[in-house]
Symmetry: C2
Subunit: 489 residues, 2 copies
């Protein structure tokens, strides 16, 4: 590990730099040269991660020395990494996000019409994607021969934190509107909690417009009318999908940067990959990583330097000095990686004339915070049990009968469902069933069940040879049901 | 309920028709007039559903007499319905789908450039969306003050059935390629099962090209290059999102029909809503419902009639005879609902000259089948337990200690995780935690746990005052792990 000292002054900001794989080293070199010429006060610690360490058997691609550097500087500027296929290798990005608590992915999607081809002339939106929750926590079970399950997990504390980040981001960056996207018309509890947190936090920012789209309509509108959006905040899976749509229709996939932000750490990068097929040829476009570096400058409070870099880059694009990936009939000169970097350097201090001049404010870019659980004020009461069982048969009444035998006054069988749809005591569906059924047990009026009643019921089930798979306890919160009814109930 | 008899012949096909709410009655009238003039041999049974019954307190909007008709004819042509907001009303469409086992949603998305504005000139794809599974089964729990959960549910039988439907649809409709979309790089068990079923079923159709996209990239490509797709098959949530994107970028939201297909029943409709603001003004476009009716003709084996209707409609659009919603600078004459229907009728027997002529084959449109569970050949063995608990504290070792006290040789504590990430015995993350933790219990080498071991552990947990929320049993299938490892494990 070598320490390169660039414009070192007393107030230089320590950062960690990873050159990455494929085109990584050459675009990082180009970007660092631009940063040096722009006199960005950085104290750079270089680490090695990625392919080389994967090949040595480090499953995450990150050796201990790299962690030490990141834990010290708190800020990582990272070129693309090649993750080997298969063989138990883990994505370096996912590992970084999870280990460092980088809960917010920030992805600006901007079109650069008319100098770069785009489907949309006036697109300038930022997607803020929650990074730690949702189905992406990877909690999955194969329960029976036929039934598979994945768990979608949303917390109130994590959700409030991402909402607050989104609004703080909007304020710090002079944005006017934050749009939440969810599917709370279907997922009333999880996505409902997400939308509720948005509404609660929005109240603290009356100067910012706040609205909500159902994710299917929202995705369609990003594809057709991206100019109507400003800042978008959404869950992990939805964010994954709309980030790709927005980048694609902007025409700027190769030019976009991204950040992953946590309460203590931040990572900055290009959104594109390591493109090993064009590595070492001095043709790769360093713009995506440069935009990552500009976001890093804003994060470090270096607003003036960020503005200078951004405006020089816009002027370069306007002047038609383009790498091969963006070369088009508006281009004037086809350049390689180094020559493009030099063109940006030559324009440091200049401003674009067609594009709008960028002027960052000296707000501290890191509005990130810790997730704080609210005081548990609501009264939480156990009111029942869902018992999931494996069962194969032709008459669901047989299952109803054998599970009824487990009933007590504290927990009595009230309903069977399959795929979320009630199938007993009344059958209201011609749906084909699977081999996984849910039995809902509720107390007789006036009785409050206990967790001991739950474990006793499970003991009886084991004794009677019931092939149970799973339980979910049912609670109310201040009397409000914390579980969904079955369809058909 | 009145029975309108239209061209009644011995071979007339019985169908049920619902006039719907808002613009429903006028567009249905227009469509039925076109069908009558085209001499489509139908025996129509009219039912009343929707708003009127919602207002009478029927929560589903469907009275018993309507069910009787649908159960008799097996085929429903339905105009848009207005579902009242709030108050426990249930979506009529969801109720129909669930009750009748309509597991496949079929949504053609076609652009009609140059006569109708579209972002894409050559778009002609069909989305086949699984309708019964996924997060949309609505199985949700609020487990603690901070943690909410929704269950994503995928079955092998349901998944194979939708794949077979997609390939049969491709064969019957002269399509060349079926594309599966999933997120199996993240959800290796659930979406992995979906993708696996696709690969298995694709082998039975060597004449049809088969490929797969990760859903985020797939969604982006539908927005930017929809012409690369032919038939797309996907899960419920993804299908919901991409159906909206495809309809939006096609420019044909107001013109598209849709079907919901099950082994025994089928429902046909327009994809647009009841538009009460323009109801009764004779300006609504009946094209979406007409396309639904054309899909119904194909389903009934009336290929010749379907082709005649489709070509007359294309000719009408080509001739510039447009309702106000699609009126543009290529239009020649602005017409109302009735006049548009008459223009289509006047062109019955004619063919378009710019658009490609449509020629349906006399294959039976209903390739729908029942979901059949495979013989459970794999050996399923219990190998552990995930116990989820509510816990709030500052030192996770305290939780590790108290749960270790539950350990036996059959089920011993091996790991704690939070939000899918390992937090004990080694802490490898700076992630902020929630109040829900997962404890994984596994047997000592050589010991096979039983369900009695599981219920005994739960009894000990209840006795010790552990606030458990949920269990998931862990299985192997022919030795292969049926559960995911934690991130960091």
């Amino acid at each position: 590990m070598s320490v390169v000292q660039l414009n070192q002054k007393p107030q230089a900001h320590p950062i960690t730099v990873a050159y990455g794989d494929g085109i990584g080293p050459e675009i990082m070199e180009a970007v660092l040269k631009i940063l040096a010429e722009a006199r960005v006060p950085l104290n750079i610690d270089t680490i090695e991660v990625g392919q080389k360490f994967y090949e040595k058997g480090v499953t995450t691609g990150i050796p201990p020395a790299a962690w030490d550097s990141i834990r010290r500087t708190k800020v990582l500027l990272k070129a693309p990494i090649t993750t080997p296929q298969g063989g138990g290798y883990k994505s370096l990005n996912v590992t970084m996000r999870k280990s460092l608590g980088l809960y917010a992915n920030v992805r600006p999607c901007v079109s650069f019409h008319p100098y770069i081809k785009s489907m949309h002339a006036n697109m300038n939106l930022v997607i803020i994607r929650e990074n730690e929750e949702d189905l992406y926590a990877g909690i999955e079970y194969r329960q029976t021969h036929d039934a598979f399950q994945s768990v979608k997990m949303i917390t109130r504390s994590g959700t409030e934190r991402i909402m607050r980040y989104a609004f703080e981001y909007a304020v710090a960056n002079g944005r006017k509107k934050v749009t939440c996207m969810s599917k709370d018309n279907i997922m009333k509890l999880t996505d409902g909690a997400f939308h509720d947190a948005f509404n609660r936090v929005a109240k603290d920012y009356p100067q910012i417009e706040a609205d909500h789209y159902i994710i299917d309509i929202g995705s369609a509108r990003i594809a057709s009318k991206p100019h109507i959006f400003d800042v978008i905040v959404t869950e992990n899976l939805y964010g994954d999908i709309i980030s790709d749509i927005a980048a694609e229709v902007s025409g700027s996939v190769g030019l976009a940067g991204s950040s992953n932000i946590g309460a203590n750490y931040a990572m900055f990068e290009a959104i594109h990959g390591s493109a090993p097929d064009i590595a070492g040829k001095d043709i790769a476009n360093p713009s995506g990583l440069l935009h990552g570096a500009i976001m890093m400058c804003v994060h470090l409070g270096l607003a003036e330097e960020a503005s200078k870099l951004h405006n020089a880059w816009l002027k370069t694009i306007e002047d038609g000095i383009h790498t091969v990936d963006i070369f088009n009939d508006m281009s004037k000169k086809k350049v390689g990686t180094k020559e493009f970097a030099q063109a940006v350097i030559d324009r440091l201090g200049q401003e674009p004339s067609t594009y709008r001049v960028v002027k960052y404010q000296k707000t501290h870019g890191s509005a990130a915070s810790h997730a704080v659980m609210a005081e548990p004020k609501e009264k939480r009461e156990l009111v029942g049990l869902d018992l999931f069982v494996r069962w194969v048969g032709t008459n669901v009444n047989d299952l109803g009968e054998s599970l009824s035998a487990l009933s007590t006054d504290a927990l009595g069988l009230t309903m069977l469902s399959c795929k979320g749809l009630k199938v007993w005591p009344d059958i209201i569906t011609e749906m084909d069933v699977t081999d996984r059924f849910r039995a809902r047990f509720m107390p007789k009026s006036g009785i409050t069940p206990t967790l001991k009643d739950v474990s006793d019921l499970l003991s009886r089930a084991a004794d009677k040879g019931i092939d149970f798979l799973k339980i979910e306890t049912l609670y109310t919160f201040d009397g409000k049901q914390g579980f969904s009814a079955s369809q058909g109930e």
